[in-house]
Symmetry: C2
Subunit: 201 residues, 2 copies
């Protein structure tokens, strides 16, 4: 059965090849950026035949799309601190720590660049983003159940409000947020949510 | 005197060539994206010699960097509605209208992709971002003078808080914000600012 390149999810040797290739792709993206991602280079680093990489992933954007799909399969467990503000602060600090890691910051730039160039990669980034937001949404849902936020508050909007200013700041101003910036992002989202800004009809 | 490609700011014929080339570059970026930007194609559309374009801009990222520098030179006058909330709402609606324009949305994706690939383009994007934030900061400064916000509030942080969720949403979820989303972004930034979240020591 023919499969679209980059969509295979098998076990055994194929899974090992995929893991090696995705790890090598991450290394290249973090070190050199998306513009210098090259399938032959990735194959060499992963110690995998060039033909295999070309056949299975087809293009650099196909490779980044599969990397994003792989990230989406690895859950990032959320914290449960017992309050919405505590949970949103934990989310903000997780984003802050991630962006403060030069490898992760470089990866964010690279996947945004790849997604801006290719529709399938953009869809994979949307999926990863939706998965991450859905992982953290229960902190708002539990807060709603505890009566901490107004009824009708959109959990996804609150979770996105925490991460957006931190990630967007890196992309536009190149500034990696510090811990106080993360605290402000969490406090701002919580304050607005508590005031009913994210209530949807 | 030798000049770095893409940094010339002269008048007369040179200015006309620059205007034609930047306009053509915008067209290509909006229609085909950054990955398919090609100096020869831009030269053809601008009806300018290929050699001129290669000599003056040197690379596709150099061309995008100059496009960003040109945008930064064209001011976007802010509105003055008399209240901070009104001004932030005007800012949010301006961002929303811009992103709802398919050409401008495509340009945002393209410049983010280019900036993710090249340090000089990233610096040009930072500069444009700083110019836009500084253009809108007076709405917060005037609000501070009128006593609408707590003393010590960082005007730039408030202005960024309005646009970040709208622009970041386009990049990650591909969702162009609607007018209610813009209203929420303004209201959220205002509510957080009024509660003192953006007060810096």
């Amino acid at each position: 059965m023919p499969v679209e390149p980059g969509t295979v999810r098998p076990g055994g040797r194929t899974a090992r090849v995929r893991a090696a290739v995705l790890r090598a792709a991450e290394d290249v993206l973090a070190e050199r950026g998306f513009a210098r991602l090259d399938l032959a280079d990735v194959a060499r680093r992963a110690e995998v035949g060039k033909t295999t990489v070309y056949r299975r992933w087809g293009s650099v954007t196909g490779l980044v799309a599969d990397l994003l799909a792989d990230m989406a399969e690895r859950p990032l467990p959320r914290q449960d601190t017992g309050t919405v503000l505590g949970d949103l602060r934990a989310e903000a600090l997780l984003v802050q720590r991630t962006l403060a890691d030069p490898r992760q910051e470089a990866l964010l730039r690279a996947v945004i660049a790849a997604a801006a160039c290719d529709e399938r990669t953009a869809a994979a980034l949307r999926h990863l983003h939706d998965v991450r937001v859905a992982e953290w949404a229960p902190c708002v849902e539990q807060g709603l159940a505890r009566g901490e936020l107004p009824r009708g508050t959109d959990p996804h909007a609150v979770v996105r409000a925490v991460s957006a200013p931190l990630c967007y700041g890196v992309l536009t101003s190149g500034l990696v947020p510090d811990v106080p910036a993360a605290e402000r992002a969490a406090q701002a989202a919580y304050t607005a949510a508590a005031a009913g800004v994210y209530v949807v009809e």
